[in-house]
Amino acid sequence: MTSAPETAERAQAPSYLAEDFTLWSWLGTHDHKRIAVLYMLSITLFFFIGGLAAALIRLELATPQGDLVTAETYNKLFTAHGVIMVWLFLIPSIPAVLGNFLMPMMIGARDLAFPRLNLASWYVYLAGGALTLGALLAGGVDTGWTFYTPFSSMFSNSNVVLALLGILVLGFSSILTGLNFIVTVHTMRAPGMTWFRLPLFVWANYATAIILVLATPVLAMTLVLVGIERVFQVGIFDPALGGDPLLFQHLFWFYSHPAVYIMVLPAMGVVSEIIPCFARRPVFGYRFMAYAILGIAVIGFLVWGHHMFVSGQSVYAGMVFSLLSFLVAIPSAVKVFNWTATLYKGSITFSAPMLYALGFVGLFTIGGLTGLFLAALALDVHLSDTYFVVAHFHYIMVGGSVMAYLGAIHFWWPKMTGRMYPESWGRAAAAIIFFGFNLTFFPQFLLGYQGMPRRYHSYPSEFQVLHLLSSAGAVVLALGYLLPLAYFGWSLLYGRRGGDNPWRATGLEWQTASPPPTDNFAQAPVVTQEPYAYRQ
């Protein structure tokens, strides 16, 4: 005999997990929720592979001598780490997993506009992942994730073309997801779900999708041109044959700077959902939050030249790009202030998702403010290509995006699985990750300021104390990342059932069963009120 109330509740429609149990019901699914789970499993695998490369890097840097790996292997390690973390983990992380799972439910739809395209994007992702991983395992690539020419096109003896092909394929997966999201938000909203009733998570994924669709094809064609230069030995980017390396950098950063916002905007969306829920307050300045997201997306397209201050681009171009880069700080600050103002007079609960969200706000602020240092022309000459840059973007991408991703997984875990994770373990892991992260990356600001360049496997011994602190932090961080893997696995089998809405959150996704049925809602929802209707 099973317990009566539970079976009665589930008797209406089976959850998306219980719909069917065959392997093909997963591999051939058109359900956005199942595709999200497929994405989650694949990006988790790649996260730990990329993390392994990072662990080897930090292990090498524990001593000043290059004693663990050769310089060449070290180059391949940081390339593998960068390529995997950027294209196989961070870019798809929040959009393809949580955006996929939640966005249709948040707007009251039964699925994304193009479910088959959604599944196709996962298969394309897998194909791209296999090619990229193949290139990295069959001898590796030593160019760094930026593939700067003419090194990547003329001189490197590693598997550049295969890696380029893999990233090209991954790019098309991103484009398909982005296209699907844009069309879904425009055409699939439930009756009454006006644009300014959209949860900020939807706004964030919408803005991200626009960047994915407009920036990624530029990267794709740029990588094709690098491949053409390499295969046919013609000079598109090689100055010896009439090309121009700056041409490559312009094209590459036209994608790769907006890509930073692909990684961080969805994270901002997550934080905008978690903070109101655990402060029991409507988000402060909702409209400005939405405008700020769009503002960041638009300005993000106009600042790529700040990666090229010391590359020989014209000083005047540098001045304009510097000014525009400072502008990004305005909408970013609007967001940070509004999150803080949302907390004001709230009834705050420090559950694990909230700890991650608050961690995000602090670490993103540090990452953003150090970005202003780098946007200042004169200061950038000193800091360019040092560990200061490494620390800066890890504060945004790890301290920002990964923290938010983990917060989101904790927050929506009961929605995805119907079960709770162990709360005290969740809080402990959040604290360990926060501590480990800062121990790893704060010393790198100091290293960079003192002149330690990035991408070297050996260094003068006066830097050892800071490097050792950083490596020690990496050990703590690794432990922090392994913990959730363990207790989420445990929760799948033994976790307490959380009910449909354990956080008493607003939002359409919480008004259906947990886990939701395949069609998301028993009856098509009609929206009658503003988002974040939290009252104390």
Binding site: A109, F114, L179, V213, V218, M221, V224, G242, G243
Partner: protein, 210 residues
């Protein structure tokens, strides 16, 4: 019998809107896919103005112009097929005409490529046009031909997809299973590929030919 509305849409109108809007978003991403090639072209024209002119004079103006006319005719057929009052049978005929003209374009383009390979204009190591001149000049000409082949080949690939789309929609029309917006979708894509050529033709064939 029209194909039924997919289960996750609330209405046929919603499905048609999603499909059409999706095509527009797709065309936006396609336009940016060509972006780096146009940006590279800007580089060649500004850094190697004379070499670009010399290289452009090697392209086959007659065949290029013929192809432009072919493609515009194909677009006319497509525009006629997409007229709202048109019956399925005649729309299918017009789509077949578009596809046939598209194939003619590809055949002519292939002929051009053959001539260009024979004249050693393919920009690999064997690149050796008669008037190559000094190394810097030759590099500029070679770069122009890199872009010529990249742009026209990518365009041809898109056109081949367009031909396939015409045939698929024409078949659905003949069987009475086409959705109302399907001809429009094929048309949007086809005209995009056509407009691309309208840019490529003067940029590649007409430099310093006035």
């Amino acid at each position: 019998m029209e194909a039924p509305v997919a289960a996750h849409f609330a209405s046929r109108a919603q499905q048609a809107l999603a499909a059409t809007f999706g095509m527009w978003v797709f065309l936006a991403t396609e336009a940016l896919l060509f972006g780096p090639l146009f940006f590279g072209y800007l580089y060649v024209r500004t850094h190697f103005p004379e070499a670009a002119g010399a290289a452009s004079r090697h392209t086959d103006l007659v065949l290029g112009t013929l192809n432009t006319a072919t493609l515009i005719s194909a677009s006319l057929c497509m525009a006629l097929a997409a007229q709202p009052q048109r019956r399925a049978r005649s729309a299918a005929w017009l789509l077949w005409a578009s596809a046939a003209l598209g194939l003619a374009f590809l055949a002519i383009k292939g002929l051009e490529y053959r001539h260009e390979f024979a004249a050693q204009l393919f920009p690999d190591r064997g690149f050796a046009p008669a008037d190559a001149g000094a190394p810097a000049h030759a590099h500029g000409m070679q770069l122009f031909f890199v872009l010529y082949f990249a742009m026209t080949a990518l365009h041809a690939l898109h056109l081949a997809v367009g031909v396939a789309a015409c045939l698929v929609v024409a078949r659905a029309l003949r069987r009475g299973r086409a959705r109302a917006e399907q001809v429009e979708l094929a048309g949007l894509y086809w005209h995009f590929v056509d407009v691309l050529w309208i840019f490529l033709y003067p940029l590649l064939y007409l430099v310093e030919r006035a």
